[in-house]
Symmetry: C2
Subunit: 220 residues, 2 copies
């Protein structure tokens, strides 16, 4: 340890940062480091997160980093937890703000299928997190939490849509699995995007067929 670095370092209040007389050079918040890490992860996965590289990109030296974070491992851990919190908040917002002009199922697809396809960076980060989860226990737990919440979410929608109770789980898993797979192939070949949207329609039909017999109206 340098002098006596606090275990929870400089927690600068972001709000008071502007009220404070602006320093010559803008100081860095931990979030700035996490954002930089996110960029590096989107580009080359978790192995591409190097303190030296991030510092260079942020225009500072590693001295700053080791003030905000104990070490490289803490950066990764905090990044993963922030990622999980944001994904869960995403779901919570969706559940709390129903859109009366759109069917629920469509919104699910928009969230997990179409929307991320437009935000390439976010999609790449998610895939990188999943990749990393295969060799990191902490990441595996994080991914499990997010997967669980998402599947639960889709399941609830399907149940509300009148799908046969015994099969909502399998259908939800199908939707989720097709979604993830779509992301994987889309990151490599964006030209398939229109086809992915037609696939969405196929799944809608499959679900419609699984409801008590009829119903394009309520679902679509």
């Amino acid at each position: 340890m340098p002098r006596t670095r606090p275990k929870t370092p400089g927690r600068r209040k972001a709000a008071a940062a502007t009220a404070r007389r602006a320093p010559e050079r803008e100081l860095l918040s931990p979030d700035a480091w996490l954002d930089a890490a996110g960029l590096a992860i989107a580009e080359g996965g978790f192995d591409n997160v190097r303190v030296l590289t991030l510092a260079k990109r942020l225009g500072v030296t590693r001295g700053s980093f080791y003030w905000h974070f104990a070490d490289h491992a803490e950066l990764i851990a905090r990044f993963l937890e922030r990622w999980r919190d944001r994904r869960l908040a995403e779901l919570a917002y969706l559940a709390a703000n129903p859109d009366p002009n759109e069917s629920e199922l469509r919104r699910v697809f928009r969230l997990v299928l179409r929307e991320p396809a437009r935000n390439a960076r976010q999609m790449r980060v998610e895939l990188a997190v999943r990749e990393f989860a295969r060799r990191d226990a902490h990441a595996a737990r994080i991914v499990a939490e997010v997967d669980r919440a998402r599947i639960e979410h889709v399941t609830g929608f399907l149940r509300d849509a009148g799908v046969d109770e015994a099969q909502t789980r399998d259908l939800a898993l199908l939707v989720y699995v097709a979604t993830i797979g779509g992301r994987v192939v889309l990151t490599a070949f964006p030209e398939h995007e229109p086809a992915i949207e037609r696939i969405e329609q196929l799944i809608v039909e499959l679900i419609a067929g699984r409801r008590g017999g009829r119903a394009d109206s309520a679902v679509a």
Copy 2:
């Protein structure tokens, strides 16, 4: 260059290896290095392929490596090409050896959905290749070739199964995308495997419903 290392190094015929009087220590073939690389990739992705580590695992030093390969890049390139050739051969074998006791569609699922789920290493390698393809042009081309061939294969099966011609491509893509997605989540959570098999059944029903061109198929 050392002395005058040949551009195409020692190509030991694997067949004559046993006829040859066995050396004190078994010599390494390039394939041995490629296999070791595959193990490293399955464990930690392409960034985990390090000449030093492979050598340690093979019980030799890097001197051997630089005899068989020009450099690290060549190892990666040859690994990718071998991977592609094997995947294409896999498909060719399937097409050339029809099994009269099993439906074609089932065989497709067995190949792309159930079989790899049992071979964890192969599955992880495939996912790592796809991850690597997002930042490596060569890998991207390789993956494109394999994807193209597989989707073509599934499309052919669906057409033979009597699926509406106009939609075979979309259905094939759905099958493929669901497959890839299934692999991704299964690598993280193997306990979902039975659910994946039920998903297979759902897709079969979807395809059956698509057979013979029904009227309501015009919804898309």
